[in-house]
């Protein structure tokens, strides 16, 4: 074979790869010209000429395909612009669908995100419950399990002064192995080493990149400078890497790290020999598994060690059955058990997928309706010799255009939603931050969604529209073959399902949303008007506990004398707040019960407006060390003594719940020694006060026990500090007056979290508010989708039956009759869908009622919702049905008949 012959053969193969249309029009000629020219080219240019010839065609083939795509896009855009109604509705419903799916994905990926900057995060495991330091030392010794381990106390508030300004920052008290176990490297300076753990050394501190930027002006010479922490100087030895906020950035984001060995004056958490106590289980333990070590094997080994410890030290739980140690995956921003992961993934996948599926089905339905309109155009193109594949590609291009057009606003909408959601401040005493902002992965996900949805809602209509049954389509002037009215077509079934699903969605979301709304503002039993809160933590500002006690005494005295203040008190707990493992137990004659634990100062009840029903409120004598006086709520008296006079009675109170509060809300685990190490003690009741309802949702009343706030509590108050609660005189800015008062007493004291009770309640309820808004949004989304779907089907049916309608009109039918005829189908669908939806929603509500709220059973029967939602849906649906149906009345019988 000569080189030209081989070249020609290759050329032919390449030429056969041209798009159909090009091949059809120019393929033969191209081959002929090449055959004519190839010998001359070979003679003149040799091998190089043959190569040039082949390169020429190899470049043109993809160029031709691109040109075709460009043409398709141009044509598609023109077609979409020609039916703006369809385009707008398709864009809206699809972008909402893509937005919700991307939101679900971002939320998931935000929660399952790996710790930033940490290598091999899968190797990191943490104990589900915090341990004591001696226990950690035992775990640390398991060298065959862990390649390294760390322990930290979190969350720890610090009063940090930078440039004379004191601020409250959050941090961790860490072992020197903390950073090396995580595997992160400092942006500046160094991290802790063994030497920093030696007692007596000047305390060293590591700060976060964020803190360095925001509070220290990104000072490049910051290493070696002094930082006052809790009023004592420490030396900054390093700055953490960018975006690194510690081992648990979502729940306990850290800006300051100190070694666990620092003086207890710097960190009151470490007072009372915290590192030697076995009962002080406040250390989060994280380990990096040795390569090849499985989580199950590690868990078993840790379990054995824990059991040994419990037996040798006679600790509580030594007779406990089953596993004592549960390992979590610590390499993610939220520690999760491995077996919980699939649940999370599937939940979000199903939720996002379903919404998207509904949206796609919807647009597909409209596409079908539209394809019927375009039947003639397509038949004509088929008849003129366009390939079916080519036409399908053209139609798919159109649906891809819609998908891409919807994907971009959908993603932007998602960015906005997630930004809002990330702003929702959780009602926890510590800053719980979820970074849910969509990242490039979410963008990639959206892009994938666009491709999938474009094909999903475009393919079936495209296949149907290009079915090669040309003759009837051409003959009937654009309307497809007149069939007998199918009462139960696939499309009708789709709409029926959609109606039912939308109503279910609307009812359930309305039920959840309204249920939440109706339970809001249920904080009763105290008077939130003109009530203000401001928190202080003098120990973090460098005070000794004694000095702090004297300060508070004086402050209260001076504040009470302010003209702006009607009443004031100090308190540890608040009427409306998620509290740190707040429950105490008390025993009935035979039953163990629990009560909410409050620690409040003198005048608390008077200031908060809680009425004292019997006995008295706290006096100074109750705060003495040996005094064992408590005040109880009405509900407790009702439970224990059936409402008889309880003043003077005795009550045995303890804390028998597992230390650390399993499953508590983030930041609410109160690991202060006095909270955990409570032995059962007998208290005397000195007063009975009115019940305070303070739950997020309406709930049955809880018994409550009030303990007096003692001077000792100032040494280590709860995470929200000691709160000064004020009842201001109406119309007076009490907060400013009090701030000024504090500043004149000592400018080193940094008050924080100043807010009104109304703000406190709003923040407390914000998560639920956000939830109820989300439900509302999803409900509206379902409503819009259902209406759009119905409108699409009605429009389709009008197009399909145009001929029949024309005959009817010609035979003397009135426009009203025709309208009724077309609407009948819609009405039947709406009614049937509504009935099914009602039934499903009813079942769903009953299921939800069992799961969530006790109030739900009341709400479920809410006539407004039960009658209102179907009515709303039905009227919208009928409108959606009427608008396209109106078109039927505009059919000109003459035109319709002439098409015969």
């Amino acid at each position: 074979m000569t080189p030209p012959a081989i070249g020609l053969r290759l050329y032919r193969a390449l030429a056969s790869a041209f798009p159909y249309e090009f091949k059809n029009a120019y393929g033969d000629e191209l081959m002929q010209v090449t055959e004519d020219a190839i010998d001359e080219i070979w003679r003149r240019y040799g091998m190089l000429g043959l190569a040039r010839l082949l390169l020429d065609i190899a470049l043109l083939v993809p160029a031709e395909y691109l040109a075709e795509v460009r043409q398709d896009i141009r044509y598609g855009l023109r077609m979409l612009a020609r039916s703006p109604g369809f385009t707008a509705v398709a864009l809206i419903s699809l972008s909402l669908g893509i937005c919700i799916a991307t939101c679900a994905y971002s939320e998931l990926s935000g929660m399952l995100r790996d710790l930033p900057g940490v290598p091999d995060p899968d190797q990191l495991v943490s104990l589900q419950l915090p341990s004591s330091y001696p226990a950690y030392q035992r775990y640390r010794a398991l060298n065959d399990v862990f390649s390294s381990t760390l322990a930290y106390v979190a969350p720890v508030p610090f009063g940090v002064s930078t440039g004379g300004r004191a601020e409250r920052a959050w941090g961790h008290l860490v072992t020197s192995s903390y950073f090396s176990t995580l595997g992160v490297h400092p942006a500046l300076g160094r991290f802790f080493d063994q030497a920093d753990e030696q007692p007596g050394r000047a305390p060293a501190a590591v700060i976060s990149f964020r803190f360095w930027q925001e509070h220290l002006g990104s000072d490049p010479a910051v290493v070696g400078k002094s930082l006052r922490v809790n009023g004592y100087p420490s030396t900054i030895i390093g700055v953490g890497p960018k975006e690194f906020l510690g081992a648990s950035p979502a729940l306990f984001a850290a800006d300051v790290w100190l070694p666990v060995t620092v003086d207890a004056r710097l960190a009151p958490e470490l007072s009372d020999n915290a590192l030697e106590r076995r009962d002080l289980t406040m250390f989060h333990v994280v380990g990096r598994l040795r390569p090849g070590m499985t989580e199950a094997a590690a868990e078993a080994e840790l379990d054995t060690v824990t059991q040994q410890m419990q037996q040798s030290y006679g600790e509580a739980g030594k007779d406990q059955k089953g596993r004592r140690v549960l390992l979590l995956n610590a390499g993610r921003v939220i520690p999760l058990r491995k077996q919980d992961l699939p649940f999370f993934r599937e939940f979000f996948f199903v939720m996002g997928g379903l919404v998207l599926l509904i949206a796609c089905a919807n647009v597909a339905n409209m596409m079908l309706a539209r394809a019927a309109d375009r039947r003639k155009e397509i038949a004509l193109r088929l008849a003129l010799g366009a390939g079916r594949a080519r036409l399908i590609r053209q139609l798919l291009t159109e649906s891809m255009l819609v998908a891409v057009g919807a994907g971009i606003p959908g993603f932007l909408l998602c960015v906005w939603c997630m930004h809002l959601l990330s702003q929702v401040r959780m009602p926890f005493p510590i800053p719980v931050v979820f970074d849910l902002n969509p990242d490039w992965r979410a963008l990639l996900f959206t892009f994938g969604l666009m491709l999938v949805t474009g094909v999903a809602f475009g393919l079936i209509p495209a296949l149907q529209a290009t079915r090669p049954s040309l003759v009837p389509a051409l003959k009937e002037g654009g309307h497809i073959q007149l069939r007998k009215f199918r009462r139960f077509s696939l499309r009708n079934a789709l709409v029926l399902c959609q109606m039912a699903a939308s109503l279910t969605l609307l009812l359930l979301t309305g039920y959840m949303g309204l249920g939440i709304q109706s339970t809001l503002g249920a904080q009763e039993g105290f008077d939130p008007r003109n009530l203000y809160l401001i928190s202080l933590d003098p120990v973090r500002d460098g005070y000794s506990p004694e000095r702090a006690a004297a300060f508070f005494e004086k402050l209260l005295d001076r504040v009470e004398r302010l003209g702006a203040v009607a009443d004031a008190c100090l308190t540890d707990t608040l009427p409306v707040a998620i509290d740190g493992s707040p429950d105490v137990t008390f025993s009935d004659s035979h039953e163990m019960r629990w009560a909410r634990r409050h620690v409040v100062g003198r005048h608390y009840f008077e200031t908060a407006g809680i009425s004292v029903l019997a006995g008295r409120s706290f006096l100074k004598e109750d705060e003495a060390g040996g005094a064992r006086n408590v005040i109880v709520s009405q509900e407790l008296v009702r439970v224990l003594w059936k409402g008889r006079d309880a003043v003077g009675q005795h009550l045995e109170i303890g804390n028998d719940r597992p230390a650390g509060g399993v499953g508590a809300m983030p930041g609410t685990v109160d690991f202060r020694p006095k909270v955990i190490g409570g032995e059962r003690q007998v208290y005397r009741i000195v007063g009975v006060v009115h019940d305070v309802t303070e739950d997020m949702v309406v709930n049955k009343k809880h018994p409550a026990i009030y303990f007096p706030l003692r001077a000792a509590d100032y040494a280590q108050p709860s995470l929200r500090g000691v709160t000064l609660m004020l009842r201001a005189r109406p119309g007076v800015d009490a907060i400013t007056a009090v701030r000024r008062e504090i500043a004149t007493m000592d400018s080193a004291i940094a008050p924080f979290n100043a807010r009104s009770m109304a703000e406190q309640i709003a923040q407390f309820m914000s998560a639920l508010q956000a939830a109820s808004w989300t439900y509302g949004l999803i409900g509206v989304f379902g409503l819009v989708l259902a209406s759009v779907g119905l409108a699409g089907v009605t429009a389709y049916s009008v197009t399909q039956r145009g001929h029949e309608i024309g005959i009817r009109l010609a035979l003397g039918a009135q426009k009203r009759d025709v309208l009724g005829l077309v609407m009948k189908e819609g009405v039947v669908l709406v009614t049937a869908g509504a009935l099914i939806g009602l039934a499903v929603a009813w079942a769903g509500m009953r299921a939800l009622a069992g799961m969530f709220f006790s109030v739900a059973s009341v709400q479920g029967a809410d006539p407004v919702l039960l009658a209102g939602a179907p009515l709303l849906l039905a009227s919208l649906a009928l409108l959606a049905c009427y608008l396209p149906a109106r078109r039927s009345t505009r059919i000109d019988p003459v035109v319709a008949l002439r098409q015969e």
Partner: protein, 118 residues
């Protein structure tokens, strides 16, 4: 709406060569290729695929069309299609030629200027 000739300017070199070959007579593909080759003294070769890609574009843009008149049966090869300029194609060719002429005039004027300076 017929396109304005100016909207095609400046013309791509391939397009210009093809239009130019069709200016005085109708041609088939191979003929165009040869004509361009001869006219440019072998400097410009329209390779077959490029040629037919260009012909397709010119057809799409309505600058050329298939010619119905064919040469005498003795010379005619039935497999070949002949192309000719449309009115629009002719006007586009004229506009491009004018543009190039203007360009050449400018170049000459500049040269004259330079010579005067020297």
């Amino acid at each position: 709406m017929p396109a304005h000739p100016e909207s095609f300017l400046p013309l791509k070199p391939h397009w210009f060569h093809v239009l130019l070959s069709l200016a005085d007579q109708d041609q088939h593909g191979y003929g165009i290729m040869q004509e361009v080759l001869d006219r440019t003294g072998g400097k410009v070769r329209l390779w077959p695929a490029t040629l037919y890609g260009t012909l397709k574009r010119l057809m799409d843009e309505d600058l050329i069309e298939e010619s119905a008149t064919r040469p005498a049966p003795a010379e005619d090869d039935a497999r070949r299609r002949y192309y000719r300029l449309t009115r629009l194609g002719r006007r586009v060719l004229a506009a491009e030629s004018e543009r190039l002429e203007d360009l050449v005039r400018v170049i000459h004027a500049k040269r004259g200027l330079k010579k005067a300076e020297v």
